[in-house]
């Protein structure tokens, strides 16, 4: 099962509000 990433922080926060879960941001840098 691959991780389904939200397309934006706003989208992740909206999903968090809908579901009662937390939003998680992974800050990364491409190498």
């Amino acid at each position: 099962m691959p991780i389904t990433w939200e397309s934006s922080l706003d989208s992740a926060l909206a999903k968090a509000r809908e579901s009662g879960r937390l939003a998680m941001i992974q800050f990364h840098s491409p190498h």
Binding site: M1, W5, S11, R17, L22, A23, I25, F27, H28, S29
Partner: protein, 142 residues
């Protein structure tokens, strides 16, 4: 990785932010290094973060720790205690377990005002995890 994906999918709404292109967001959250994982409630309030990659079980435990802390921060003492107890039971070998054992006592104190519950859980933490930072913090209770 399958287990991590399942933990993420079940417990959080994830978003990846590239620090090179999401400069404003990185600045807003004061990201010093990558990867940094930040956990927010639906209102955008931060409840937990950690820096660096972790093995699957440690990563999963940190996700649950974020949930327990968020419940604590909104005063849901019973829910928070339950979540901490689940971490201690499900991820006993992780770095999240010792502090979870302690915070169960704090949640119980918040709910009942029985300060002895803090000491009981503190002593338990120090006894079970003497070499962990939380065991050391609470070693004065032994």
């Amino acid at each position: 990785m399958e287990a991590v994906a399942e933990e993420v999918g079940t417990n959080v709404a994830p978003f990846r932010a590239n620090v090179l292109t999401e400069r404003e967001l990185s600045k807003r959250f004061r990201i010093p290094w990558t990867p940094t994982f930040v956990f927010l409630d639906g209102e955008g309030l931060e409840h937990h973060r950690f820096i660096g990659f972790l093995p699957p079980d440690e990563f999963a435990a940190q996700i649950h720790l974020a949930g327990a802390r968020a419940a604590f921060n909104r005063g849901a003492w019973e829910e928070s205690a339950r979540r901490y107890a689940q971490i201690a039971e499900k991820f006993p070998e992780t770095d999240a377990a010792p502090e979870s054992v302690y915070w169960i006592g704090v949640c119980d104190f918040k709910r009942t005002k029985n300060v002895e519950r803090i000491y009981e859980q503190g002593r338990e933490t120090a006894k079970r995890y003497p070499n962990h930072i939380w065991g050391k913090k609470l070693s004065f209770l032994k």
